[in-house]
Amino acid sequence: MYNFWAEVLKMPTIGPMYAFSKDLGAYANDFMNLGKIMCELKIRNDNYWALVNAAYARAIKDTAERAPKQFLTKDDFENYRRAAIEAFEDVFTDLFSSSEFSAAYGNLFSAQLDFSRALQGIAEKNLKVLNMPTRGEVDEMLKDIHELKKNVRELKKSIEMIKNDRSRSATT
């Protein structure tokens, strides 16, 4: 039965279903890829928050050690606030300065970008029917404009230099 349907899917289609079946493979790949990226994003997100949560637990423990043991006066509450701020500041600054956190942050940022890129690709494919320039096409235009501006700047500089040389040689 499975082999029968596999063979049916391979048959060429006609009419409105043609375009759909032609791109079905590509669409399916895109969504599978998106799924893989989302799994990777979740892993990296979990790693990131594991570090933050561990730091939070350490900060709570440090606060308990540094804080006053009784809360009778206003100063006791004030001292507790100071102890908590210092403990959290020390623990989290150590965390954010560590190579482990730098790697986790970088990996999470990268995974978020992968996710965005996958969504952009899917959106671009599906919006082709609107006949608008794609992100890639606009990007090429921006690059060209930037290059042109640079060339104009160089040309203006050269013209200025030639003008200066000519006025110098005219005065001598």
Partner: protein, 338 residues
Amino acid sequence: MCRKLEKARSVLHTAGDIEVGQTPCEILHETRAYRLLHYQQMVSKTDKTPILVVYALINKSYVLDLQPDKSWVRSLLSQGFDVYLLDWKTPTTADKYVSFDDYVNEYLNDCVDIVLKKTKTDKLTLHGYCMGASMSVMYTTLYQEKVRNLAVIAPVIDAEKDTTVIGNLAKNMDVNKMLYVIGNLPVEQLYSCYSVLKPFKQGVNKYFNLVQNIDNDQFVGNFLRIEKWLYDTPPIAGETFRQWILDIYQKNLLVKNEFKLGDELIDLTKIKVPLLNIVADEDHLVSQQCSAPLNDMVSSTDKRLMRFHTGHVGLIASLYSQNNVLPKVGQWLKARSQ
């Protein structure tokens, strides 16, 4: 306490309305990328050598003129200097490929030429802050004939020696991918970076202090101005940010004399003009270990490193700055201005 909390809540909603950058100035030149401001003189006689202040690409330049009693610009004016400021505008998505080559070789160079033409002088003092200081250093290596003095505040020079959280986060950012996928560095990403800098002393404790001091109008005014500046952040052009992180932080090319602006190599040893390098020993954004090596790299014989006991923003926008930093900076500049 409830009254104070309620007052603090309503006051925070007005942070956007507070006035900043009030020192009178005119817009000398304006393009899509920047405004060149010329400040009104405050004394009758000014030094002939103009000062062009080059601000960073992060946050807005009015931090240098936050309020009259803490204004870096105003202090320079009252010491008799002719002050110009390069105020960067907000990049758009069309500026994705704008790089340091554009910022230094086009925008900064154009501004220098405009200032020299207006003041009828052939050299000026280039005075950069943070990323603007790094750009001023790059500029001086290429256009030294237009620079009389180079006075920089907290420049990023040797990123490998940087001890800050920012330097740590930069090590593993995939900026090539960022440029491809999202283009310019978005504001939200910058805010997430800010949130890891002194997260509790500055992120949480400052609001406790605000509530406690809510009836002190001066305290509240100072607080709101800094708060307004902190959250008034434009995006950074994609290619510029890519170079900043990849070439300057990760590969550390600037201190190795391997950083390129377009096709031109930035060789710090070429700098021979008088150099003043101002650093803060409690700087949590650009550590002094990252800034100080500039003095060892240049070939200038007249060079000085000034260290101050304050932070990155305190160096330019505090009473400490007014009383301790600016008089010494002014003295150094006066001795080397025409």
